[in-house]
Symmetry: D2
Subunit: 142 residues, 4 copies
């Protein structure tokens, strides 16, 4: 991918107001894959001091959608039909890193997985894992 | 439930910084049930103009957790192990309303469902449905 | 529904060899709804003496698919894209009853829920709950 | 693992009547991992001629449970709380192979993934992927 492609993807990633507001950023993107991160702030937390499940879910969903969107034909977009997310460890630290990968691309829907890790004192640990079904839709139709 | 109980629950609901930041509020709460809402703002949206899946997921998860917490013995708290959420209609409108209900309480786990509706021009339509497994944990143990 | 329609549906229900082999039967079917049952035998069990999770999952999936198929236009069929099933109580008894209902029909996908109860000594208790995404496909295309 | 351990595990795998009846067999088992297979017969199919979703779900669940059981302390057993399974390709062929792996072991529950592939004319293709939450319980308690 050329540098200007990555720049374009980074910009597109933030067109979603909720993602820009949350503070998520795109790290890298390629065919069927996307890595994004979120520098953690107090406002991202649960009352327990751990990252809120909704933050982990948002990061997983948006990164998964970006990964799926790299495999689209022109004039198509993706929409999440459903996802499941399992919370494997309470997340506390400086940064979330999410790696999403299309496991099975399709013409009508794609199956994508996303792993969200939390970085604390330079050490990264898996915090959550999600799997999503993404519908592939045509602009101006349905 | 006495009025001061509801006031206490409303305050507790917002102790989570992410929930206060998002703008969610508790509407009502009872044994195994909780209703919460979110007045929609531009910052809650996806690039398409629809509510971001992460917002719907956060609202569902937090309301489900509150519903489960109404059935706890003293000294216990709930933590989401996993949830699945299905997006049934693109959500656009003024307000989200979420109704969560414990389907099966347990000593170790509770199974909770949450429906998120979107209100537009006074009309309410189901936008998403989630099901969650909540672990029941004891403070200061595990 | 006319009696001969129900008879036709009952026959169709059993065209799937795995369902006939398992011993499932259709109880009733209507617009967006289906009820099926399974008289439990020793071979349906887990080593613990409880019904195997795979049996509960099969019953939920097949009944959900039948419910979704009642809302199809001619020339279409449904295929399960994914389902999640939660096991709420260990199931032991004489018979499983499954009630499936389409929560949100669609042109491309339907969202269906199925509850599986177990009848023991005439008393029925909820054993499992599933939610499924069903793709709607056209014969001879994709 | 010694050969007699594998033999013991193979025997234990089939103590579940539904698994023995289905025809599943254990291929190999190790710390946090299990591989099992099923030689496909006509009775395992859906009306379409493809493997029934319930068969794929059973194979995934049972193999995942076996993988989780390899990490238990004495006097404990596992029980599936919930699983989600996504069907990635219609499965047709001679044999299913399932590989399950514990992603996150725990004291109270384990998170396990299982991939089910279908072998046709010697070629193996991923047919379904499942993720399960397994509760870890003590015999004679709860």
């Amino acid at each position: 991918m050329a540098d200007n492609d990555l720049a374009a993807f980074k910009e597109m990633f933030l067109i979603a107001p909720f993602i820009a507001d949350l503070g998520m950023e795109l790290e890298s993107i390629g065919k069927g894959e996307c890595i994004a991160f979120l520098n953690l702030e107090q406002r991202h937390l649960q009352q327990s001091g751990f990252v809120h499940a909704g933050v982990l879910a948002t990061v997983a969903d948006h990164t998964a959608g970006a990964a799926a969107s790299t495999l689209l034909e022109a004039g198509r977009y993706v929409m999440t039909i459903e996802f499941k997310i399992s919370f494997l460890r309470a997340a506390k630290g400086d940064r979330l890193i999410c790696r999403a990968r299309v496991i099975k691309p399709g013409r009508r829907f794609s199956f994508v997985e996303a792993e969200v890790s939390c970085v604390s004192s330079g050490k990264e640990r898996l915090a959550a894992k999600a799997s999503a079904t993404m519908a592939i839709l045509a602009f101006g139709n349905e």
